[in-house]
């Protein structure tokens, strides 16, 4: 009886100790996260301070102070300060740009992923298309600008086309690379278990190359946000790129910087979303987690 009692209390003690060590580990993790956040946020704050001081000391009128940009940002978001054509229009511009970015991006993914899977897997297609792709790929997307304006005219379609081109190659090439680097044993294992044909594409080729596909999507997504600005500089009335261009034409540097910040924030937030999705889908693969 006595024995029994001791073992129970010992067990309790042990479980309390275990819980304590779990708590300690959790605290340490929380502290680590806080530190990373403080460092990551601290540096931009430092840059803003330097910017503020530099403007004040040099007395330049070409570059607005951070405070002026903040006011512009407020007006751009909510209006009520300058009450001009840009006041309170942020959502319209963001929405237009988002439509174009994701129009081009999803089109590129829709064509690039299946094509990459097929080219990676089927030798005939590879021989047929690989040289052409290698030839077209080095052409900078911006060099397509004149042609795309002939094809699509001045307007949003030219911008979407540029985004599509810029996003297409990283998606295609990463998908091809992903397929090419699948361990051939996985195909052997699948075929001995009775898998073949389209089942092989769906069950083996696609999931096995998903890590590579996602790194392609992420690179492509970054390009897409870069290119939308180029695309929207070609004479569309709305969109974040056109805001930046208008700011330049009107010599309103506060508007230019405001536009830049909004573009950066959009790119950042949407990139986080992609990372979250890929972490979810790739939880089986620790190398690809962030």
């Amino acid at each position: 009886m006595n024995d029994h009692a001791t073992t129970i209390s010992e067990r309790e003690e042990r479980s309390i100790a275990a819980a304590r060590s779990v708590n300690r580990r959790r605290n340490r993790q929380r502290l680590e996260k806080l530190r990373a956040f403080a460092l990551g946020a601290g540096f931009p704050i430092l840059l803003i301070l330097i910017w503020d001081r530099a403007v004040a000391i040099t007395g330049t009128r070409l570059i607005p102070s951070p405070y002026q940009v903040a006011v512009m940002m407020y007006d751009f978001s909510f209006g009520g300060v300058y009450d001009d054509a840009f006041s309170g229009t942020i959502l319209i511009h963001v929405w237009k740009s988002v439509q174009r970015v994701y129009g081009g991006f999803f089109l590129a993914a829709l064509i690039g992923i299946p094509l990459g899977l097929l080219i990676g897997r089927i030798k005939l297609l590879r021989q047929l298309l690989d040289p052409t792709i290698s030839l077209l790929r080095p052409i900078p997307v911006t060099a397509w600008l004149p042609l795309s304006m002939i094809f699509f005219g001045l307007g949003p379609n030219a911008a979407i086309f540029l985004v599509f081109l810029g996003a297409f190659y990283p998606i295609l090439l990463n998908t091809m690379f992903g397929v090419r680097s699948i361990d051939p044993r996985l195909f052997e294992a699948a075929s001995m278990l009775g898998c073949s044909g389209t089942g092989m594409f769906r069950q083996i080729v696609l999931p096995a190359s998903l890590p590579a596909i996602f790194s392609g999507l992420r690179i492509a997504h970054g390009f897409a946000w870069i290119l939308i600005v180029v695309g929207e500089m070609t004479g569309v009335p709305t969109g974040l790129g056109s805001v930046v261009m208008d700011g330049r034409t009107l010599s309103r540097t506060d508007l230019v910087i405001t536009g830049m910040i909004v573009i950066g924030a959009c790119g950042f937030i949407t990139d986080r979303i992609i990372v979250a999705i890929s972490n979810r889908l790739l939880s089986w693969s620790p190398q690809h987690r962030e």
């Binding site: 996985l186 699948a190 278990l193 009775g194 898998c195 096995a208 998903l210 089986w284």
Partner: protein, 260 residues
């Protein structure tokens, strides 16, 4: 497997294999002839590079023989099939599938009713003792557990020939012993014909009904030892050691020959 089946499950007749390497050719297998009765446990042993993996891969249908043919119950093999299952040394599990999904992969290909797939999968998860790990991904498992999944994946697919290419070669000694024991239990329960390639003479004598010693240059079956010891086998018994010595002697005679 009905009783009407002939006693020999696997017949290999005059199988050779040449690989093109650069401008030349490597002769990996000289004509190999071999017959294996149903439910036999065969170990293949031989120096590295003597063609063990090549022979196993030809049986699996991953490689075509240059000449000759492999047949299962008289039917000539021409490609991978679910009657034969390979267990690779490096597991080759599908990393994006959980243990359960890996094991149910074969049954799922055959579009069986859901309940039947689940029942088979559960049965083999239990057989290899991975109930608690069924929802883990391969990268969260130890080497021994991964190899258990690989074995279960093949058996759940109803394979009646189990091909194993140095399956326990990468495991530590304790895990290896454990898995050898479990494999024998599974083999006894299922009666699956097993061809097991190993480097270790002791492993071969411990497991097999029959040990084939292969020699290199080009690969062929040099000798065929029958192991009549009752299971479970005592590795320290004089009979065990006598067999081990005999086989090791056959094996090293080729090594010295090849070197000379």
């Amino acid at each position: 497997m009905s009783n009407a089946d002939p006693p020999d499950i696997l017949t290999i007749r005059g199988v050779t294999k040449r690989f093109a390497v650069g401008d030349g050719e490597v002769e990996a297998l000289a004509p190999v002839d071999l017959t294996i009765p149903r439910s036999e446990f065969v170990c293949m042993i031989g120096a590295s590079g003597c063609g063990k993996s090549t022979l196993l891969r030809i049986i699996a249908g991953f490689e075509e023989p240059t000449t000759g043919e492999v047949s299962i119950y008289g039917k000539v093999v021409n490609g991978p099939g679910s009657d034969r299952g390979m267990v690779f040394q490096d597991y080759a599990l599908f990393p994006w599938m959980t243990v359960r999904q890996n094991i149910s992969f074969g049954p799922r290909q055959r579009q069986l009713p859901r309940e039947e797939i689940e029942r088979t999968t559960d049965e083999f998860i239990r057989m290899v003792g991975l109930e608690r790990f069924a929802d883990r991904y391969p990268n969260q498992l130890s080497g021994g557990m991964k190899q258990r999944v690989a074995i279960a994946r093949v058996l759940a697919n109803n394979a009646n020939i189990l091909l194993m290419d140095e399956p326990f070669g990468a495991l530590d000694a304790l895990t290896r012993e454990q898995l050898q024991h479990e494999l024998l239990q599974i083999w006894k329960r299922t009666g699956v014909t097993t061809i097991f390639v190993t480097h270790s003479v002791e492993e071969a004598v411990l497991l097999a009904d029959r040990v084939l010693v292969m020699s290199a240059g080009p690969g062929r079956i040099d000798s065929d030892f029958r192991i009549e010891l009752a299971r479970p086998r005592d590795v320290s018994s004089p009979e065990f050691n006598a067999l081990r010595r005999d086989i090791a002697r056959r094996l090293t005679s080729h090594l010295t020959l090849a070197r000379a």
